[in-house]
Amino acid sequence: MTVRSVPPSSVRPGRLSIAGLIARAGWSRLAIYLLLTLGALGAVFPFIYMITTSLKTYGSVITGNLWPWPPLGAETLQWKNYADAIDAIGWDKQWGMYLFFRYAINSIFVTLAVVAGVMITSVLAAYAFAQMHVPGKNFLFILLLATIMIPGDLTIVPKAVMMYQFKNPFGSGSWYNNYLALIVPFLASVFGIFLLRQFFMQIPKDLFDAALMDGSGHTRYLLTIVLPLSRPALVSVALINFIWAWDSFKWPLLVTRDSNMRVLAVGLQQFLVQEGGTKIQLMMAFSSMVVVPVIVFYFFTQQYFTQGITTTGLKG
């Protein structure tokens, strides 16, 4: 099938009709855009559902009213759901604040620590794998990749047992119910090393030779040349680990027991009362607040993120 192309001059700029668009882009491209639009809508729909539900009354949630606000309905936006969601989680007597904020502080601290740790370990390991002559490094790399194949659920209990058994070097007790358990096991990411290694391998060796001639060693070469060149990949690794650490639920639940050690994702589950029910609008209000940092972070880094994914050979 041939697609007839129309000279650009035949389409008036600024006011394109659908026919004009089709003529300009061609049916196949239109189909692709249509599919992409549908895909994007599919991806955005849960967010729209979350935000709209968070602003409804419980009655509108129950009756399945999609748009209870003017002009279709008479309800006002239920911003108080957000305050109610914070209130529903409870009060932290130790710090004298809503547990929501205590959870948020824990989430921020744990996430930042994990991301920082992952960045350091991933950069060092990926650089060694990509740029250095180390005997057996390919074998080591394959061994490392093999650990990705082990399902996380399979190792979660043994890892939790370790947290009970490891002694806390900064105080009494073990790592259990301590920031150590929330942070240390995730200070290295095999995926991060893999992604950065792929990126570092694309940096021409000539650059290193030139740097060497200028008296640079590995450390300076890594810090002054490799890292600035690898910003998109670094942002990708940071973002992926940020999302992962921020959303982590099972692990924090397993290795903490005090409310004041828990994170936002654990707090979210409190809206589901077993053998009872749930207030979906409050749960959605809570969820909306939980995802805000992820969206903000992505918003500011999405350009680098896209570049990072496309330049590391990870695109589909």
Binding site: G59, P158, Y176, E275
Partner: protein, 491 residues
């Protein structure tokens, strides 16, 4: 050059560390050890008994095997801490801790009890407990369904509470024991472990039939169904597919299925816990009923992703019948008040002649630590089961109190509470009459995977193909369930 070598060494160290971390295997974990050695405490001189009247020394095993051994444990001055893992939300955690604070102030032994949220579901707590058992650091007590307690018992991690209950010094008096609902107590006697008491009830609930009374009246019935035949007839008469209204909301829930089997005269497992038997005639009839309901389009499937979808649809007048836990009553009340505002009520599930109730509500199990801690744990459970406490807890959560003497207080509180307006206090009160019909599903280790199997191999297949051979589906599932039972049987 030195820097380079250092850099290579550092990088390799990081990589090697990562590989080791990835490949790390847990070290073999010993059976749970006593969490902490209780320091022998000197009794004050003034209270020391004279040598001549000293009772013969009783050797205390861990866990204590007889009531006499329990009597011989001395708690005063030991300042034992009891940690309680449960699955209730923060609001209930605060309430529970409030009750425990009273215990902490009033108990003469210096016991400090602390409640902690182990997760939002029984499964969360179960996973957490399993990891803690492997690490040898379980809490002193936790909520546990009977089958979960049996699983912990298989690892030697929970103890038999019978000696504590019978203890003259610390146990329950005859009158107290009679005050407990007998079926509630019986549900914790484990058939796999010769009737050992692996948990003790502080709350209960049961599966009841929620029905839309207005809708029922509209289609010409003044009473809810008493038999499954009536249920089927009413549900089908109520169904209007064009309006997306259905007689019954089907949930992917093994407990729902158990109710169907019980009320058809069957059992999930034999009384001695030796074999699954839900492929009996009762099981076949129950499954065929479900299949007929789907074949005729009188039931609607609630997808597992739609959490509490049956509650919302019921509240919105989209389904007429729902089989669900009685602990959901306050939630149903609020949902209907905000939804279709129709008249509704609960009733005992339909049956084929003999009324039966599927008893819900996890008990509290005690973990093997030290005799002193185990005794302290028992005293906390005993406190939570007292009339005042069980009534308070029931009023706060919607669960049923475990003592008959608490019923009047709870019903009166519900009557006075505007959130329970509309005659629901009367429905609530009726549940205590149904308690005597209680049955439990399968108090055996490994029932959790069997529950998943029931949904996957029986329920999902039966509703996907209402013409599928019910007996064949059940026989195949029972075969697999018995293999799981064998695998988890006491060694």
């Amino acid at each position: 050059m030195k820097t380079r070598k250092l850099f290579v060494a550092l990088s390799l160290l990081v990589v090697a560390g990562l590989v080791l971390a990835g490949c790390a295997q847990p070290t073999p974990t010993p059976a749970p050890k006593p969490a902490a050695k209780v320091e022998p405490t000197k009794a004050p001189a003034a209270t020391q008994a004279p040598a001549a009247t000293k009772a013969p020394e009783v050797k205390i095993s861990n866990p204590p095997k007889t009531a006499e051994e329990v009597d011989a444990i001395e708690l005063k001055g030991k300042n034992v801490t009891v940690l309680y893992w449960h699955n209730r939300p923060q609001k209930d955690q605060d309430f529970l801790q409030g009750m425990l604070d009273e215990f902490n102030k009033s108990n003469p032994y210096g016991i400090t009890a602390k409640a902690e949220i182990g997760g939002a579901s029984y499964n969360d707590v179960y996973n957490k407990i399993n990891a803690a058992i492997q690490a040898g650091q379980p809490p002193e007590i936790s909520v546990a369904y009977q089958n979960q307690a049996a699983f912990y018992r298989a690892q030697g991690a929970v103890i038999d509470l019978a000696p504590f209950v019978k203890s003259k010094k610390y146990g329950l008096a005859e009158a107290d024991l009679k005050d407990y609902f007998q079926t509630f107590l019986d549900s914790d006697k484990n058939p796999q472990y010769k009737g050992e008491v692996l948990g003790f009830p502080t709350q209960r609930s049961m599966e009841v039939l929620y029905y839309n009374a207005d809708w029922l009246k509209q289609i010409g019935y003044n009473e809810p169904p008493k038999t499954w035949k009536e249920f089927e007839e009413m549900a089908c008469k109520a169904t209007n597919k064009e309006q997306k209204k259905y007689g019954w909301a089907f949930r992917h829930d093994a407990s729902n299925w158990a109710s169907f089997v019980f009320t058809h005269g069957g059992r999930i497992i034999t009384e001695d816990g030796s074999a699954y038997v839900f492929n009996s005639d009762a099981g076949v009839q129950a499954l065929q009923l479900i299949q007929r309901m789907f074949e005729k389009g009188c039931a609607v499937e609630i997808p597992t992703s739609e959490r509490y979808g049956e509650q919302n649809r019921f509240a919105n007048g989209e389904v007429m019948f729902v089989l669900a836990s009685s602990s959901g009553l306050p939630f149903y009340k609020e949902a209907v008040d905000k939804g279709a505002k129709h008249k509704w009520d609960i009733t005992i599930p339909p049956n084929t002649g003999k009324p039966v109730i599927n008893l819900y509500g996890a008990s509290v199990s005690v973990y093997k630590t030290t005799p002193e801690k185990e005794l302290a744990a028992w005293l906390v459970i005993k406190f939570l089961g007292e009339k005042t406490q069980t009534a308070k807890w029931a009023i706060n959560t919607g669960y049923l109190p475990v003592r008959q003497s608490a019923v009047a207080d709870v019903v009166a509180a519900y009557k006075a509470n505007p959130a329970w307006a509309g005659g629901l206090d009367a429905s609530y009160a009726r549940m205590f009459d149904w308690a005597k019909y209680a049955m439990v599903e399968a108090p055996v280790a490994g029932y959790d995977p069997v529950r998943a199997l029931i949904d996957k191999e029986i329920l999902s297949k039966a509703i996907a193909d209402p013409k599928a051979d019910a007996k064949k589906l059940l026989d195949e599932a029972v075969k697999q369930a018995n293999a799981i039972l064998k695998e988890n049987a006491p060694k």
